[in-house]
């Protein structure tokens, strides 16, 4: 299952974003940020203690089941009084959850986390980006491995000159996806697909902001 992968902002940045706020209500998320240990119960509790120590008044805190779900607004209704007295909501969900809450409650919101990518847990404490939702899927020609997402430069025609020992020039811990694609296509006897000179990418797939209207449903 894909997840929104997040990382907590630095203490300094959270402090700066909350500098005009005295009364703060903290909201975590029981789904993605619980998985990544960035916005589950323990992290929300730790944030509450940290901010209390810095002189903030914590008017309440809660971990909602799925912050990005529209039901979040109804769940937060239970805390109506506390939220009413709050200057700012500090939200420990991904940016999708922050925006869902911002739409439903007329309060200033501050994200405590940066949303890094949409990805998958591939090992204990290890998360990998899988798809950037570019709108023009090409993985039918690359053995089901996405170079748009997994090549640092999004190259379509093979590796750059920076690859070394099958790793990426920006980080020895990151695989060169073109080595992976080569190995996969080689195993499948489909290397001719890699020999095809691909035209420049179509960046018009779905211009930002993405919006899709399906007729007749």
């Amino acid at each position: 299952m894909i997840r929104s992968i997040t990382q907590q902002k630095t203490e300094e940045e959270i402090e700066r974003l909350l500098s005009g706020s005295i009364r703060v209500f903290i909201i975590g998320c029981g789904t993605c940020t619980t998985l990544t240990h960035t916005g589950g119960e323990p992290e929300v509790t730790a944030m509450k203690e940290k901010l209390s120590g810095k002189g903030k008044m914590i008017t309440g805190h809660v971990v909602v089941p799925v912050a990005c779900d529209n039901l979040t607004g109804e769940i937060l209704d239970e805390f109506g009084g506390q939220i009413e007295q709050t200057d700012t909501l500090l939200i420990m969900s991904c940016a999708f959850g922050v925006q869902t809450i911002a739409r439903q409650l007329h309060k200033m919101v501050v994200p405590a986390l940066d949303t890094l990518f949409i990805g998958k847990e591939t090992g204990l404490g290890q998360y990998n980006e899988i798809c950037t939702q570019c709108g023009t899927c090409i993985i039918g020609e690359t053995g089901g491995i996405c170079p748009v997402t997994s090549c640092h430069k999004g190259l379509l025609n093979g590796p750059c000159g920076g690859t070394n020992n099958g790793k990426c020039e920006i980080d020895k811990d990151k695989d060169c996806v073109w080595t992976l694609i080569y190995n996969r296509l080689n195993e499948l006897g489909q290397l001719d697909l890699m020999r095809t000179l691909h035209k420049p990418r179509n960046f018009l797939g779905e211009p930002r902001p993405g919006k899709l209207i399906i007729q007749n449903i």
Binding site: H152, G158, T179, R195, P200
Partner: protein, 295 residues
């Protein structure tokens, strides 16, 4: 009109190109000095494009300077900083100023340079840039529109003969040739046996190959490249030879090694020429050529 570099490539003579790096700033004195020193000694000089993703005076400005000073420039163009519109515009400008040789590169990540937070573009890759040039030469831009006034370039690309793994790199190399590359300048090679085996494979393609020669300036510099530069392997024997140089004489040893390698490449006709990268020590390029017996 064919560039003098293209004519040299077609002449069958042993080709020598070198590199000139534009400055960090507007003080062109050193660049001018290097151009003056080398313009009549080499067949063409490459103008690097924000080499290692370090922001500098543009390669296009450097190429124009070479032209003004009577030299033959090879304009390096990476895909890191410009989208397809900006690249085409710069190609039009180059053609209008008689800058007729282009080396197409993907470009290093911005994360390796001095503007780490900048946006890397990579709208095209190196093989697509080569293909774009060939489309423009047919009088069209990449949007399919007619160009008023054409372009004609001698177009090249690069390859890393010692990449690990090598096979994906060779597939890309073949695509660059399919896209229309006429010449290839290689990443630095130090093991001529490995260069020979690469050439045994590469000879089947209709492309001129210039072996990359990076001047070794010290043993620690050689070890640094082995550790940090993808596809560069300085054999232990050469590192030891550099280390054996008397104090203060390492550069001389590096010049001797580069000259010796070029001499062998030329005498044994291993490839069509060499591309000398002296990385800031351009003033010694004539010494290297003298040692190689091609001055």
């Amino acid at each position: 009109m064919a560039s003098s570099f293209k004519k040299a490539l077609e002449s069958g003579k042993f080709i020598v190109t070198c590199e000139v790096a534009p400055p960090k700033g507007t003080n062109l004195d050193k660049t001018r000095h290097h151009i003056e020193l080398l313009k009549d000694k080499v067949d063409a000089m490459n103008l690097t494009d924000h080499q290692s993703s370090v922001m500098r005076y543009p390669s296009l400005g450097g190429a124009l300077l070479v032209k003004e000073m009577g030299g033959e420039p090879i304009l390096q163009m990476t895909c890191r900083d410009r989208n397809r519109m900006a690249l085409q515009a710069d190609l039009l400008f180059a053609a209008s100023r008689d800058i007729n040789n282009i080396l197409c590169l993907t470009g290093d990540s911005v994360m390796l340079g001095d503007h780490k937070e900048a946006k890397g573009v990579f709208d095209l890759d190196s093989s697509q840039l080569v293909a774009a040039i060939r489309i423009m030469e047919k009088g069209k831009d990449l949007g399919g529109n007619d160009l008023d006034g054409g372009v004609s370039f001698c177009t090249g690309a690069i390859v890393t003969p010692e990449a690990d793994p090598l096979e994906p790199q060779l597939i890309k190399f073949e695509k660059k040739i399919e896209a229309g590359a006429e010449f290839i300048q290689t990443q630095a090679v130090y093991d001529l046996e490995k260069l020979k085996s690469f050439m045994d494979y590469a000879k089947q393609f209709p492309v001129k190959i210039l072996a990359g020669i990076i001047l070794l300036t010290s043993a620690p510099m050689a070890r640094f490249m082995n550790k940090n530069i993808a596809g560069v392997n300085v054999p232990k024997s050469l590192v030891d030879e550099m280390a054996s140089a008397p104090k203060g004489r390492a550069m001389e040893k590096g010049i001797e090694i580069a000259g010796r390698m070029i001499r062998q490449i030329n005498e044994e006709k291993i490839c069509d020429g060499v591309h000398i990268m002296a990385i800031g020590k351009e003033e010694v390029v004539p010494d290297i050529m003298a040692k190689a017996g091609i001055a």
